[in-house]
């Protein structure tokens, strides 16, 4: 497998010959082509960010104000209810930021794929660029939203702890999970246009089933297994909170589950997408 990929990569470096009979497994071929088209991913991320803010006076500041506004509204609404939760505003904002990254990137992966539908009927492009660039844009926004988050953390009097070193890992794991989900959803959306709408409804339910607004301990013990342990997003949101909010290092087995969930989602998404990618030009 690895040898095939290397040989293919070597041949791809000579973009001179296209031979449909000489391909490694679709999943590997796509990876090599994605690396070759890495500058396209950069351009697509740039396009998303530039066009989103080009005609607004506040520009890039919107990325920071958006989650902050949502947090303010929810804090006003729920801080009385959850007054037992220490530094509720920070608890809430961490959850919102991580969740927004996931929901926005998975939706954007599907949208980009539909946008690219006209293109992939005309020219060859590795089709994963759409989902990967959606993740790239999301990561830029996620980094930007660390600014208001830092302000809220300081304002609520939370100390910065060494667990903050977990943050890059939380980013990477959530990004892998979102990419896997985004690829899987794009594959389905290529065949059925209503997948995006159905997913939007599912996201709404998923949001309320994940402890983002409410503290974990308001859920009765017997329900926690179903709501938390079987909810992949729970592990990632918890990792974000362990980095910035709780003063505990994650238990190794919990961390292992998060890593496994992220990687399994990525591999399943990647393999499913690349197996079907050849057919997209027929479909979209």
């Amino acid at each position: 497998m690895v040898f095939d990929a290397l040989r293919y990569a070597w041949r791809a470096a000579e973009p001179d010959v296209y031979d449909s009979a000489s391909r490694p497994a679709a999943a590997l071929e796509e990876l090599v082509e994605l690396v070759r088209y890495r500058d396209l991913v950069g351009q697509l991320v740039r396009r998303d960010i530039v066009t989103r803010y080009k005609r607004s006076a506040l520009g890039i500041a919107w990325t920071m104000l958006n989650p902050l506004g949502m947090m303010l509204v929810l804090t006003v609404a729920f801080s009385q209810l959850f007054s037992a939760t220490h530094a509720y505003a920070a608890y809430l904002l961490i959850g919102i930021v991580a969740w927004s990254f996931f929901s926005q990137t998975t939706m954007a992966a599907m949208r980009n794929m539909v946008w690219g539908g006209g293109l992939i009927q005309r020219i060859y492009i590795p089709k994963t660029v759409f989902a990967v660039s959606a993740i790239g844009t999301g990561l830029v926004n996620l980094l930007l939203s660390m600014v208001p988050l830092a302000i809220v953390i300081v304002a609520t009097g939370l100390p910065l702890r060494p667990t903050v070193l977990l943050l890059p890992m939380a980013f990477v794991l959530l990004a892998c999970f979102a990419l896997g989900m985004g690829l899987l959803l794009s594959t389905m959306a290529a065949y059925f246009p209503d997948v995006a709408e159905m997913y939007e409804i599912a996201l709404q339910a998923w949001f309320y089933l994940t402890p983002i607004i409410y503290p974990e301990d308001i859920i009765p013990e017997p329900l926690r297994f179903w709501l938390f342990n079987l909810n992949p997003m729970y592990y990632f949101i918890r990792l974000f909170r362990q980095a910035l909010y709780y003063d505990v290092w994650p238990a190794p087995e919990r961390l292992a589950i998060a890593v496994a969930v992220a990687l399994i989602a990525l591999v399943i998404g990647w393999v499913a997408f690349t197996r079907k990618a050849d057919e997209f030009a027929y479909q979209i």
Partner: protein, 260 residues
């Protein structure tokens, strides 16, 4: 999957450096399923009812042909004969259902210019976006940038948002990006008409220049006169099957006969 050890090298040895495009037993099947029109919900219901039917439609069937370097090769046939499917197979846009396609060199995507343009971005930003869509690196586009702006005759407009461009300006920019570097294979669709008359002459001159430098040209046309005038060899496709393959004269004559 890689089953043969060095197919590209083998093909090169077999055919020499002469052949640019080679199609072996190419078939392309479209699956027109009833679910295609429908939604995911409908699909699930049909799966549960065990009523998933596909109508199969072969856009190309067992097509074998070779195009040599520097040749102007015509493709004739009526609408729906499989001409654009053939172009897509050559351009790597469609993977053939069966058979093998082998192409040496860079293919200019002349199917439609500026398909990936974004109206809010400036001309400059669009040059880089479009160039990377065509598989060039950011650095390569930096080297090409000034030539592209000059050829498209955009001057200082290059830093204005694309939505302020006339359609002619957009087409010129798209053409300039797609053809800045000599492609090895040029695909020309006769319905292609870009910009005003002066620019059409300029673009025709550029295509002619490429041809003289040894680019292979695939010309798609309904018009037998054009094919006879411009092409050395041609293929006639009918319902996805090769009806005639040979010199442009012969093929054009047979196609003309049949359509009268």
């Amino acid at each position: 999957m890689l089953t043969r050890s060095e197919p590209a090298a083998a093909a090169r040895r077999e055919t020499g450096s002469e052949v640019t495009i080679r199609l072996e037993n190419i078939s392309v099947r479209y699956r027109v399923s009833h679910e295609r029109m429908g939604t995911f919900k409908e699909y699930i219901i049909r799966v549960l009812q065990r009523r998933v039917n596909h109508d199969e439609f072969w856009a190309l069937r067992d097509v074998n042909l070779e195009v040599r370097k520097g040749e102007v090769f015509g493709i004739v046939g009526r609408n729906g004969a499989g001409k654009s499917t053939l172009l897509k197979v050559v351009a790597r846009v469609l993977r053939p259902t069966t058979g093998r396609v082998w192409v040496r060199g860079r293919i200019a995507p002349l199917l439609e210019f500026g398909a990936g343009f974004h109206p809010e971005l400036t001309g400059r930003e669009n040059v880089f976006l479009n160039g990377t869509l065509l598989g060039f690196s950011h650095r390569q586009m930096g080297e090409k940038f000034q030539r592209i702006v000059d050829f498209a005759e955009l001057g200082e407009f290059i830093d204005a948002p694309l939505r302020t461009y006339s359609s002619g300006m957009q087409a010129r920019l798209g053409f300039a990006i797609a053809t800045d570097v000599k492609p090895d294979v040029l695909i020309v669709d006769e319905v292609l008409a870009v910009g005003d008359e002066a620019f059409q002459r300029k673009s025709a001159a550029r295509m002619e220049e490429f041809r003289e430098q040894g680019a292979t040209v695939l010309l798609v046309s309904h018009n037998t006169a054009t094919v006879k005038k411009m092409c050395q060899r041609a293929v006639w496709l009918n319902h996805g099957v090769v009806r005639a393959l040979g010199t442009a004269e012969e093929v054009a004559a047979r196609y003309h006969e049949a359509s009268v």
